[in-house]
Amino acid sequence: MTQFAASAADRDGPFAGSGFPGGYVPGGYVSGRHVSDRESLDAGGDRPLIEVENLGYAYGSRVACRDIGFTLYPGEVLGVVGESGSGKTTLLSCLAGRLSPAAGRILYDRRPDGPVDLATLSEAERRLLIRTEWGIVHQNPRDGLRMGVSAGANIGERLMALGHRHFGQIREAAAHWLAEVEIDTDRMDDLPRSFSGGMQQRLQIARTLVIGPRLVFMDEPTGGLDVSVQARLLDLLRRLVAEMNLSGVLVTHELAVARLLAHRLMVMKGGRVVESGLTDQVLDDPHHPYTQLLVSSMLQV
């Protein structure tokens, strides 16, 4: 069994028999939707996909995050929540290779040669990883899309970057992914500029997932969308994450988004992790005062 299950059992110990909602049993989480994921996870091997130790980063003398450590297993989505300025995005940038951490290290289980320290990779190797194994969903779709070329080309570009040179097949893949993210395929040759915000975000997701990434970094994927569009997008993401057995790191300030998408949760404040655990557990039984504040600030309808 994985560390995931072990930590669940550990935390479960003191609360056993306390009428804890959500139904934890030692050794696994049975009431939720993740059971099948866990099973496939076990089949997929016990090696963590990404391992972070004592990660730290500072902008000059201003420390943005410090002493961050976690382990992410294949098929798992880790949510990172916290208020603005808590270091969430800095953490994600470090993970995705856009910033090089000042302290600590990040081990990534690269194909085919196993765990490597991201800091030791050359820029060429890092960019190869981004092209072939990773996907990044930006908060603003404009950062992740080429606004000057058609939707189909946006999706196709990632395939062409991997060496696909068959126009018909690239187009088929683009059509398939547009359908997958619920965009009419007759919009394929339109510019993303003519799309609504929600469609742009879905297009960005299609562009990210078309290469079948092993690891996806999501930075506020639902930021700036109205609630009904947000709900559809979350449904979609949830389905894709389950179908593709995606692993990911999801940065968000909306607890509801984290509740729906993330299996585990890390709460950050002032650049530190103040609490971490299973999503439902952290949200339903917050221990740290800040987490309690965060949960109680959630709007109820």
Binding site: E157, R158, F167
Partner: protein, 288 residues
């Protein structure tokens, strides 16, 4: 070093020529790689061939025979003035005949007559960066070249097929040199692209405004980009040249009157004259 008409040989001073030659050597050593150089102000405006003229000035010698063409023609303003420039500042012999020239400076065409070993072809380049259309940042395009990240290049061709049903790019058609760097062949028609492949002559490219020099050494592989199901094709004409009857050369459409009259003629004037001097009768002569 000879002085001609009060100028240093070939206009540029010797230090500048050395600097440009060093850039050219580097460019030849790394085919298709854009070498930055300290481009000088030349006595003609940017866009008129300041890059080509500097490269020519750096490689020309007193024994060279120079030919200059603009869109294939020897007698257009740009070609005539650059030819006279070097005749005056370097005292070199000039010609309009492709076969006799040792050094050819060109804008927008490769001569129809096959070039041989010992000849140098100098291209005038307005925009040396083939990725510019997709990626405006110079720092980023350099990285993309270094890492062979060329997915974006095919996006342009993809968009062509989407909008026009075929690859509609007809000039400045991107090529891959020696299996690595993607290069802009300067705005030559894609009709000329196959001539670059394994050409026995040395090809040098000079971009004056962007201050870049790049090169394709003799017998180097030059492939035009395409898709498996949309292979690279060159232009074809239904007409033959109205003057010389050539069916295998690049034709210009010339409007002859204001009632819709038009004719197609070879864009390479030397080629056309050669054929008319010794060769089969063209349409006009046949009609007379």
């Amino acid at each position: 070093m000879t002085e001609a008409g009060g100028y240093n040989f070939a206009y540029l001073d010797e230090q500048t020529k050395r600097m440009i030659r060093r850039a050219i050597l580097k460019a030849v050593a790394v085919p298709g790689y854009q070498v930055p150089f300290a481009g000088r102000e030349m006595p003609l405006p940017y866009g008129w061939g300041t890059g080509g003229i500097q490269v020519t000035a750096a490689v020309i010698s007193g024994q060279d025979v120079l030919k200059v063409i603009d869109q294939g023609a020897d007698d257009t303003t740009n070609a005539v003035s650059i030819r006279r420039f070097f005749a005056r500042t370097a005292g070199v012999a000039t010609t309009t005949r492709t076969a006799e020239a040792t050094l050819i400076q060109t804008r927008h065409r490769i001569p129809e007559h096959p070039l041989g070993e010992g000849q140098i072809l100098v291209y005038q380049v307005p925009i040396p960066e083939p990725l510019r259309w997709m990626e405006p940042r110079e720092t980023e395009t350099r990285k993309m070249h270094a890492l062979s990240e060329y997915g974006a290049m095919h996006v342009k061709l993809y968009e062509d097929i989407v909008h026009f049903g075929r690859i509609a790019t007809s000039y400045d058609y991107p090529v891959r040199v020696n299996g690595h760097y993607i290069m802009s062949p300067s705005p030559i028609p894609k009709f000329d692209n196959p001539k670059m492949d394994r050409m026995p002559a040395l090809q040098l490219f000079g971009a004056g405004r962007e201050k870049r020099i790049y090169a394709v050494p003799p017998y180097t592989r030059v492939e035009s980009l395409d898709f498996e199901d949309h292979p690279f094709e060159v232009q074809r004409w239904d007409e033959a040249c109205a003057l010389c009857g050539a069916t295998d050369s690049f034709l210009d459409e010339v409007v002859t009157d204001d009632r819709g009259g038009r004719m197609f003629v070879c864009s390479d004037t030397d080629h056309c004259q050669d054929r008319r001097a010794g060769a089969p009768a063209g349409k006009e002569e046949a009609a007379q």
